[in-house]
């Protein structure tokens, strides 16, 4: 089973990385880019066959480790 976790910054939280990338893209003359926000993905391969259980465990992994829930949101997708 595969799963993907996507962790993104909450709205309104400063994203220095996104800001620097945005600036760089603009300076390369790539017109039409308004804003960039950077996040993380984790692609996970699992042995398990129980999607519900896997999802629950991955959520707890997000809470404990993968996401900094003070400033980040996360999403768990079981890709089957």
């Amino acid at each position: 089973m595969k799963a993907r976790i996507t962790v993104t910054l909450k709205n309104g939280v400063l994203d220095p990385q996104g800001k620097a990338i945005e600036g760089a893209l603009k300076s390369f003359g790539l017109e039409g880019i308004d804003s960039v926000r950077q996040g993380k993905v984790f692609d996970i391969e699992l042995d398990s066959n129980d999607p519900a259980k896997a999802e629950e465990l991955l959520k707890s992994a997000c809470e404990k480790l993968l996401a900094n829930t003070v400033i980040e949101n996360y999403r768990v997708e079981i890709l089957g």
């Binding site: 909450k10 309104g12 400063l14 994203d15 220095p16 900094n68 003070v70 400033i71």
Partner: protein
């Protein structure tokens, strides 16, 4: 001006203002404040900005000396260090944010203190940090240590300033409230210091740096969010640091200052635009008018309230010479930073804030600061503890075992795991890296240098706030002396519990008295500082922790002294009086599990005589190594010198008349270990001690040599075994194995 929102008692309370404080506001302005005004008052009158609980007592601290250029009251303290140069430094806490989000809390703490230093025109040359965590076995501790250390490194390393020293300790009283105190040190020309005081009427007020977002608008936001339908999810109250932006801000600010266009400058720290603008105006006896439509914003639809309270990082406010605004803007554009003229100075002594053509605030500028509440809060003195007689505390283990245990205990174990994550070498001036008594950095190409240290022993402060306060200053003094520096001035970061509780207020009051007393006697004034109150865990205050950041000057860094044993066959001398003081000692806590007893007293007059004598010995080349004694006493001091030099020692004599363990592990104050190469030099030292006219005594303990440390009547302990014990604990704890 119209009040779109009724100011209810709930709203007042949510802004942290007490009913009588609100009455004071009503009296001051003669009408109900607008929401924006209420926000401004809450920011200016909170504990952090107004020092309302501590101000009265801080007045007692000595702040003057012939070398002090600027004492407390500006962004940072400034001292003259000779050669036309000044040292600018300050320490500040970021305790609560670091507990909520350790990485970002620590980074923004470091960023804030660096800004305080370069706002004054100084280029930062070093950082230090003092950290207090909960008990190692508390489930949160490991994650907090790892986040805080990574955050401090993450900011300083990228910004490009070496982090050269600090302190780190553990105690269950910090379980729910860690301490993160960061200190920054910079160098400027003594006659080119910049201040916050605005001058001239009609001069432009310029906003520089990063854009304003809704960062760190604390509990108050929740209150205001209800009135703002654009408010989205519950906003996080932590800010994110951007060391890259700050590095650019540093370079741009220093370039701008060089260009001669800056009249006044103030960084936007706590309470952001509000406190920076009010301070610039109030200090210069001028009014300030801001047009918030001009403020560079990161988010859409920001209200005046939000802009005035935002704590977005990496921002500055300046008053510029109008003729040079264009040149200034060019410098900022070059560094890719925002630059906006957002207001002007006026002759009205009013603080006026406009947004969308409406006046959102119109307040008397001086009174915002001057009329802030001032409390003489009730306090009680901590009851005195009995002095423990060493004879009554037998040792349950051998001294050899005790030494190995102590040297590997959380507080005394090597902090290499921490400082190896900090770039302590950048700038190429780190003469003594972390691991010694003080860090030593060279200034420019030398020969002048600085000795830097951060110290406090919270368990002494808990046992006796007055003596503990004295001791914190004395230890900083001693650490500077030990590397051959002349102690010059300190910054203090007073971390305490809830001041509304008389016992914690008492700790604050007596610690401050102790600090003041020590500063006076040691001629070691306070030039900057910070107070952090309401630090508590489960309703119980933290250990009282007045962290002292000490700065000393070395005329010639090539003559700096280190603690490492240098060669075999050198004589080891203990300077200072030993009574075997076990009360409130590390040995007592680690080996017997007791934390009672009165802490060791500090004889300040003797401290000064001893310090001056040691400085003379270093200056005259009579000693080869110097180390002051602190936690763990004589045995730990010897072990540290042996490990640093990879040379052993044999100790044949201890101060007489004491149980051996008390002589080895007692924490009597004002003591140094010295090594001496020749008999003539020993005779000269003995002569100087004898004629010092005080009660100072010295003992010849033994000689250096071999590859182990041998204590009286014990099997030798190999240096390798000491090192293993010393270096093992923190890395294995962090790896989850300990």
């Amino acid at each position: 001006m119209k009040n779109a929102i009724a100011i209810t008692p709930e709203l007042v309370a949510q802004h942290g203002l007490k009913p009588d404080e609100y009455q004071r506001i009503l009296k001051l302005i003669g009408r109900e404040p607008t929401l924006t005004e209420l926000g401004i008052f809450s920011a200016m009158w909170n504990e952090h900005c107004s020092y309302k609980s501590s101000r009265l007592h801080l007045k007692g601290l000595p702040t003057k000396a012939p070398w002090v250029i600027q004492g407390p009251g500006e962004n940072a303290g400034v001292i003259d260090i000779g050669d036309g140069l000044a040292c600018v430094f300050k320490m500040e806490s970021h305790n609560h944010p670091s507990f909520i989000e350790p990485y970002q809390g620590a980074t923004t703490g470091v960023g804030g203190i660096l800004r305080d230093v370069f706002t004054m025109g100084a280029r930062p040359v070093a950082c230090l940090n003092a950290l207090r965590f909960g008990s190692p076995d508390h489930p949160k501790t490991r994650r907090l240590v790892s986040g805080v250390v990574a955050g401090i490194g993450g900011y300083g390393n990228s910004f490009g300033v070496p982090t050269v020293g600090g302190q780190m300790g553990f105690h269950s009283r910090y379980n729910g409230n860690i301490l993160v105190n960061a200190m920054a040190v910079g160098i400027a020309k003594a006659d080119e210091i910049f201040y916050a005081k605005a001058t001239g009427i009609g001069n432009p007020i310029v906003y520089l740096g990063s854009k304003t977002g809704r960062d760190g608008i604390h509990g108050a936001t929740m209150a205001s969010a209800a009135f703002d339908d654009s408010a989205e999810e519950k906003r996080p109250t932590v800010q994110v640091g951007d060391p890259f932006a700050e590095k650019l801000l540093l370079e741009a600010c220093l370039e701008l200052m060089q260009s001669g266009s800056v009249i006044a400058i103030q960084d936007m720290g706590a309470a952001g635009l509000t406190s920076s603008a009010v301070e610039m105006g109030a200090k210069g006896d001028l009014g300030i008018e801001l047009d918030l439509d001009k403020v560079p914003c990161r988010e859409e639809g920001m209200t005046a309230y939000e802009m005035m309270l935002s704590e977005s990082q990496e921002r500055m406010l300046m008053v510029l010479h109008p003729a040079k605004a264009e040149q200034a803007e060019a410098i900022f554009r070059k560094w890719g930073l925002d630059f906006a003229i957002i207001g002007k100075t006026t002759d009205t002594l009013r603080f006026v804030v406009k947004h969308h053509g409406e006046t959102m605030a119109d307040l008397p500028i001086k009174e915002l600061g001057d009329e802030a509440p001032l409390y003489d809060r009730p306090y009680v003195e901590t009851p005195k503890r009995p002095v423990l007689a060493p004879e009554n505390i037998p040792s349950p283990v051998s001294n050899r075992a005790a030494l190995l245990r102590l040297i590997g205990s959380p507080d005394l174990a090597s902090k290499r795991w921490v400082w190896e994550q900090y770039d302590h070498l950048i700038l190429g001036n780190t003469v003594q890296q972390p691991g010694g008594d003080s860090a030593v950095i060279r200034i420019g190409d030398g020969p002048r240098g600085l000795a830097l240290t951060a110290d406090v022993t919270p368990r002494y402060c808990e046992a006796d706030p007055f003596e503990g306060g004295k001791q914190a200053v004395a230890e900083a003094y001693r650490n500077i002396i030990s590397v051959g520096g002349t102690p010059r001035a300190i910054t203090d970061n007073l971390n305490f519990g809830n001041p509304e509780r008389p016992e914690y207020m008492g700790q604050l009051v007596y610690c401050i008295r102790g600090l003041g007393e020590a500063c006076r006697v040691l001629d070691f004034p306070v030039v900057s500082g910070n107070v952090s109150l309401y630090n508590e865990t489960n309703g119980r205050g933290i250990l009282p922790t007045p962290t002292i950041g000490g700065v000393g000057v070395l005329d010639d860094v090539t003559r700096a002294m280190t603690l490492a044993f240098k060669a075999a066959h050198e004589t080891i001398i203990l300077l200072g009086n030993t009574k075997g003081w076990l009360g409130a000692s590390t040995w007592l806590a680690e080996i017997t599990g007791r934390e009672d007893g009165a802490p060791p007293p500090v004889d300040l007059a003797l401290e000064k005589q001893t310090g001056e004598l040691v400085l003379g010995l270093i200056r005259d080349g009579l000693v080869t190594a110097v180390h002051d004694l602190s936690d763990g006493g004589l045995a730990i001091g010897l072990a540290e010198m042996a490990m640093a030099g990879k040379i052993g020692a044999r100790i044949d004599h201890l101060p007489p008349g004491l149980p051996t363990h008390a002589a080895l592990f007692g924490e009597d104050q004002g003591r140094y270990l010295l090594t001496v190469a020749t008999n003539d030099q020993i005779a000269e030292i003995s002569r100087r001690v004898g004629t010092s006219g005080s009660d100072l005594i010295m003992h010849i303990l033994g000689v250096t040599g071999g590859d182990s440390l041998t204590l009286p009547d014990e099997q030798p302990i190999s240096i390798a075994a000491l090192e293993t014990a010393h270096e093992h604990w923190l890395p294995s704890y962090m790896a989850g194995d300990a």
